[in-house]
């Protein structure tokens, strides 16, 4: 899958501002970014549902065309859209029978039910399904075509942890069978666990691209220490002092909430030094946490903003 110089605007809003992307066969690629970053617009252009204002797209070696060629390409894709509500009054089995009827070489209803582990809900109407079950049915409708390429737009948004894990298992099994996946998400944990490579999007552009490990390594250190002070900002020259602490690579004041975040290589050296520094300055801590660096921290370091509003 390939796209070059992709742009799309809606009125005055630029949704996608010149995007280049290459995704190899067999890869699981994640588009990561906050709401409104242009992830959905991008994936819908790639799916051939939205026409780009500029740029080229080629899927499985072919550009999008109308008519028979477009349909032939669709035969090989499996698509789950972010906001589709399947017909409430149909049962799981009937919904799948409907979707499989669109494809020449589709899975049987039983096979695809087994893939998403919905066998016991076969006769249940869609309206009675839980959020996680509905989402698995939506993915089943995408998998029913025996796709080479699977598009998933925020497949786990709003789901409980168990449903999320079930969906991850479905995606992993699809990949193990040789499928290619493009998914969008705003859960960095999901991207880190599932994706071979991720692209972090913001304001319609890709601001970072690579394997999750490489992106986290680009922070220069793999731990993050966050703290906040009782008296707010902490006084003159604090940032410079923080940067001078042993093991600290990056220090920044949070844009919101008055907190500070340090990217550090060695927590066991940095934290005692931080406490000593604050003691000398007479500042009192109201919060202190440390965690392994995540893609979220990559996003914060690139944009100064949180990936998701807390």
């Amino acid at each position: 899958m390939l796209c070059r110089g992709l742009t799309k605007r809606f009125g005055d809003v630029v949704a996608v501002a010149g995007l280049d992307l290459t995704i190899a066969a067999g890869e699981c690629f994640g588009l990561l970014g906050p709401n409104g970053a242009g992830k959905t617009t991008t994936i819908e252009i790639l799916e051939g549902l939205t026409a780009p204002d500029g740029g080229e797209v080629a899927l499985l070696g072919q550009p999008w065309r109308d008519g028979a060629e477009g349909r032939a390409l669709r035969e090989r894709l499996g698509i789950q859209l972010q906001d589709t509500q399947l017909a409430d009054k149909l049962t799981v089995e009937e919904t799948l029978a409907l979707f499989r009827s669109f494809y020449r070489n589709a899975h049987g209803v039983d096979e695809v039910l087994a893939l998403v582990e919905l066998e016991e809900k076969r006769g249940a109407r869609v309206v009675t399904l839980s959020g996680g079950q509905k989402q698995r049915l939506a993915v089943a409708c995408a998998l029913v075509s025996r796709p080479d390429l699977l598009f998933l737009d925020e497949p786990t948004t709003g789901l409980d942890p168990q449903s999320r894990r079930q969906l991850w298992d479905i995606i992993r099994r699809f990949r193990a069978a040789g499928g290619t996946v493009l998914l969008t998400t705003h859960y960095m944990e999901e991207a880190e666990r599932l994706c071979d490579r991720v692209a972090i999007m913001d304001h319609g552009r890709i601001i970072a691209l690579g394997t999750p490990t490489a992106l986290i390594a680009s922070l220069g250190a793999d731990h993050v220490v966050e703290f906040a002070l009782v008296e707010g900002a902490g006084g003159e020259g604090l940032d410079a002092d923080l940067r001078g602490l042993p093991g600290v690579k990056v220090a920044r004041a949070r844009a919101t909430g008055g907190g500070h975040s340090l990217t550090v290589a060695e927590v066991h050296r940095a934290v005692p030094a931080l406490l000593a520094l604050l003691e000398r300055r007479g500042a009192e801590l109201s919060l202190l946490t440390t965690h392994h660096a995540t893609l979220e921290d990559v996003f914060v370091s690139l944009t100064g903003r949180q990936l998701r509003d807390p």
């Binding site: 032939a72 698509i79 859209l81 509500q85 009937e94 409907l98 979707f99 669109f102 109407r125 075509s145």
Partner: protein
């Protein structure tokens, strides 16, 4: 396409309200109107006689002796009020020269005037020179219910075509299901044709229910050929499904499409001779009224059910129905919003 039509039908029969509006409602309507306009005639006409003048009691007695009149003595205020509200058709002010007070635009009042005048004139010595005998006819085919059933059939085809197709298209669009279908290799024409297919299946049930009801309850028969009737309803269902698609081709919300549906259907309910003959409209309007698809369909249905006309004589109305259907379908395909 078969699966799409199947899905469409399942969604329909699992919606009890929709089933009622399509099958139950026209039958309830036919039953109620059939009862209201049953052939007992207009019944007794209520006539008032103004109190106070000499001979008011005698006049009431002689008017009451007619089986078609019911007279009562009323004082001036009460008489005025009842005349205004239509509870009496006519007020008689007795005296040497009588006064008939009534609204000449009301058929009932004009009837009452004729009856009352006959009795008054005969009581004062008029002799009728000609001998006449009444021969009352109440044959099947000329009653109101015979007129009504084909009209309801036409109205039902219109309603279920436009509601059935319009709502489900817009609902699919609103729920982004249409967009999801676009992400499959489904042919667009198959999606649209699936509506026609599922409409045709329900059509058989709708027509059977309404015609069967009319036949059992009111002895409304079909004089012409059943095959012709089936063909005409088929054509009507196709035309209105096309119109439904056209109405739903752009709307994004159920509210939006509801307004459009009423805009399309309401004029036809009134103008197209469903409940009363469109001949009542001014002559200048008639050509426009006749060009409406429901008018043409109703005319054709009545011709087959009441007069037993063959299909060959129905070329014009059927061409109008088919034309509307084909045109709506083609335009709908052109302007359809697929996402």
């Amino acid at each position: 396409m078969f699966q799409l039509a199947l899905a469409r039908m399942r969604e329909f029969y699992r919606e009890p309200e929709a089933v009622f509006w399509v099958f139950g409602f026209p039958i309830v309507l036919a039953f109620a109107l059939g009862l209201a306009f049953r052939n007992a005639g207009p019944g007794e006409l209520q006539v008032g006689v103004a109190a106070g003048a000499a001979g008011d009691r005698a006049l009431v007695a002689s008017l009451d002796s007619s089986p078609r009149l019911a007279a009562s003595v009323l004082d001036t205020g009460e008489a005025r009020r009842r005349l205004r509200t239509g509870r009496i058709a006519l007020l008689v002010v007795p005296g040497d020269s009588l006064i008939y007070r009534y609204d000449s635009t009301r058929t009932e009042s004009r009837l009452a005037r004729l009856e009352v005048d006959d009795i008054v004139q005969r009581a004062r010595g008029r002799r009728d020179p000609a001998v006449v005998r009444d021969d009352r006819v109440a044959a099947a085919g000329s009653r109101y219910i015979d007129f009504l059933i084909p009209g309801l059939l036409g109205m039902n085809l219109l309603g279920s075509g436009i509601w059935g197709v319009g709502f489900s298209v817009v609902q699919a669009r609103q729920k982004k299901l249409l967009k999801r279908f676009m992400a499959t290799p489904m042919r667009r024409s198959h999606y649209l044709l699936s509506f026609i297919l599922s409409r045709l299946v329900f059509l058989i049930l709708e027509v059977a229910a309404l015609v069967g009801f009319g036949w059992l309850m009111f002895d409304v028969g079909v004089r012409g050929s059943w095959l012709t009737l089936a063909g005409i309803t088929l054509l009507g269902a196709f035309a209105f499904a096309g119109l439904g698609l056209l109405v739903a081709s752009r709307a994004r919300t159920i509210e939006g499409v509801s307004g459009l549906m009423n805009l399309v259907m309401l004029p036809m309910w009134i103008l197209s001779g469903t409940f009363f003959s469109y001949a009542r409209f001014p002559d200048a309007m008639i050509p426009f009224v006749k060009a409406l698809p429901l008018t043409a369909l109703n005319d054709a249905l009545r011709a087959v059910m009441i007069d037993g006309t063959g299909v060959a004589a129905l070329g014009v109305p059927l061409a109008i129905v088919a034309g509307w259907g084909a045109l709506s379908f083609v335009i709908a395909l052109q302007i359809f919003r697929w996402r």
